[in-house]
Subunit: 410 residues, 2 copies
């Protein structure tokens, strides 16, 4: 029998994948599982956009242009103008989700063995995309104590070596919910220009910035036009994760050319989903305002509930719909598994993502978890009830005495 | 300004891409261009399947499972039974077109620097997918004189070296239309088992086999269950190129596991298109019989018209909807460009794909072209009229005398 490839054996997996079998088992046992572990919102996809798919009268689902339909790219350019970015349709390459945009960006800009600096914790799938391109991720550590604010620019600069080709950030951040200000972006842009680095910015959560903070797109950085490559997606913005429509956006002509070649290789992005995506840009903005207000309410719930839990460290996230929390346990993965296997509160439990998998530096995040507040108010409160009761029980002397379960660093 | 990657600069392109600007210019000049250069059929996508998309009542377009919806994979398994392949839904990984299935297969099975043997001429985008994985293509040359029949098995075996990990064939073949019999498959399967090679078979044209020939899927090869990896797609079968739904199919558990990891990395295949794909498998088989008969008629047209052209070598292709032809010119690319730039017949011309780009061995295919018979009878006849008149004019002494235009090897 032929052996599979070494890389195929070692594709890095999402941190919560290991726990899926335990969640499945819990459900099989009749337990209700509140999923705060994945970024799959319960918000409805805009009805107007779904309606346009139903009205689509194409008789042949032909290849669309490799870079996406011109009509959609024109509307994307108009949408980008709404947040201060002046671009033409040629600057957009429509992709199969943000996932493909990340791959096009990395492959177009970095060769095998080259490095990209990524603040950790980070979206764990970056590891896999880097592996496909044989690219090294150089982590720069952020800390829960200051809400995972970006480190000082000098700390980034200290990591720049001869093989460093870029900095990759997610703003607002998944998994931390951290929001990066205009000033931070300006500093990063300056650094990128100074060292001829690409500045990759995953902006798929740009619509979800709270507390009146203004989102500042990296595409507005003057003088860094050739450095900035933005990753986009309709998945979170319009709760259309299954559509698989994203975009790679840049003003760097050479990057556009290379990414276009990769795009042509796979022929075209999904066609039906482009009908949906285009329709989202014909909609009134009321949908987005409502969705944002809803996430903001959920954010407050998560924050306030965590603040009230003894020994838990967290913060008020500035954007996206994620939050990290530090628990008084020595292994959050074990705790997350225990929640699924051993615990229930009124017949239910909660699924979280262990924090360690979002770090590249070994040993970090072991007492942390990521939560995605993708459930409605009632379910979210119930999920937080489960977490509260779970932590209480897990940290009680009775549970702590079970061999193998050691909640504290004792 | 940061430089892009070397690989980004050198992504291999489809052979006809270079000519697209000339076709665009011809159209801008008011010339009608008959496209025989790409595999985009003019056949309608099944109305029944499109109707199911319109009836889809999902309110949230959520991620589907990374490997595709179970209901779709169940129907795929049933469809595969219709041509003698007994598999379970677990053996299918639904992908974003055949393109993604090729990538999953190559990355899962081959490491950087390893080799795969591919009969040439071959689907040119294999070059690009190999480049992403830093995989080497070892070509084995087929010849127009015998309709691009596969070389003897000894010729394959002679190419197997220490880094050879697989053989990659397309059956029926794009770009040649060649059909590979059960006997050929048996021999290849045996060779794969003998040398522990993967046998990748792109079967996206399996429905289009003519002259009463029975398609024999590589998945039926007894004893080679762990060697065979099949690539599939609904693009050609149901004229749904823009949907972007394919599949990777294998019984090798380790390959399935690795490909599943790659699948999870990009979260899920397109959702709306899976509704369409699933519907195609609920349909009556009348659609396919009609489509096949239509392609068969076109095949006869192309064959007969080519036979009647002086100095042209061709053959009756056994499958798919492609054909190669050898022309009495010394550079088919120049001829194809001339057809677009200099020639018209009754205000129209024809676009073909120069043959050289389908070969990996330098120098081969320079007097050959690929034609896709994706136009209806009337248009196809008109396209062949253009070709006939074009060849006549191009090979006439008057044209041959223009500097730079040398139709013959004189």
């Amino acid at each position: 029998m032929p052996n599979i490839s070494k890389r195929g054996e070692s594709v890095p997996m999402s941190p919560f994948r290991k726990l899926v079998p335990f969640a499945d088992q819990a459900k099989a046992n009749g337990k209700h599982v509140y999923h705060l572990n994945i970024g799959q919102p319960d918000i409805e996809t805009p009805a107007y956009a779904l309606e346009q798919v139903r009205k689509n009268q194409e008789k042949i689902l032909a290849y669309s242009p490799a870079v996406g339909k011109l009509s959609y790219r024109q509307k994307l350019a108009a949408y980008y103008r709404s947040f201060g970015v002046a671009l033409s349709p040629e600057h957009f390459i429509v992709t199969t989700g943000a996932s493909e945009a990340i791959q096009f960006a990395l492959l177009s800009c970095l060769d095998a063995g080259e490095e990209v600096i990524v603040p950790e914790p980070f979206y764990a799938n970056y590891n896999g995309f880097a592996q496909i391109g044989d690219i090294r991720i150089k982590p720069i550590t952020c800390h829960i104590e200051d809400g995972f604010a970006l480190p000082r620019i000098e700390a980034f600069e200290a990591l720049v070596g001869p093989k460093t080709r870029g900095i990759f950030i997610t703003n607002p951040n998944n998994p931390t919910g951290s929001f990066y200000s205009k000033e931070k972006l300006l500093a990063l842009g300056e650094l990128a220009v100074k060292h001829d680095l690409f500045l990759f910015v995953d902006e798929v959560y740009r619509e979800f910035c709270y507390d009146g903070q203004d989102f500042f797109s990296a595409l507005r950085l003057r003088g860094a036009e050739n450095n900035v490559v933005v990753i986009d997606s309709i998945s979170k913005r319009y709760s259309a994760c299954g559509a698989r429509i994203g975009a790679m956006v840049t003003q760097n002509e050479a990057v556009l050319e290379a990414a276009t070649r990769y795009a042509k290789l796979r022929l075209s992005p999904p066609g039906l989903a482009q009908v949906l995506a285009e329709a989202t840009l014909d909609m009134e903005s009321a949908y987005m305002a409502e969705v944002k207000a809803e996430y903001d309410r959920r954010r407050q719930v998560v924050y306030q509930r965590l603040q009230a839990m003894p020994g838990v460290t967290s913060y008020l996230p500035g954007g996206a719909f994620y939050c990290f929390a530090k628990f008084p346990v020595d292994c959050s993965e074990r705790f997350c598994r225990w929640l699924l296997e051993e615990f229930d509160y009124r017949g239910a439990t909660v699924m979280l993502s262990p924090g360690a998998g979002f770090y590249a530096t070994p040993g970090l995040g072991k007492d942390e978890v990521r939560m995605a507040y993708v459930l409605n108010g009632t379910d979210l409160e119930a999920a937080m009830d489960c977490l509260e009761k779970g932590l209480e029980e897990y940290c009680s002397p009775r549970v702590a005495a079970i061999p193998g379960v050691r909640p504290n660093n004792s």
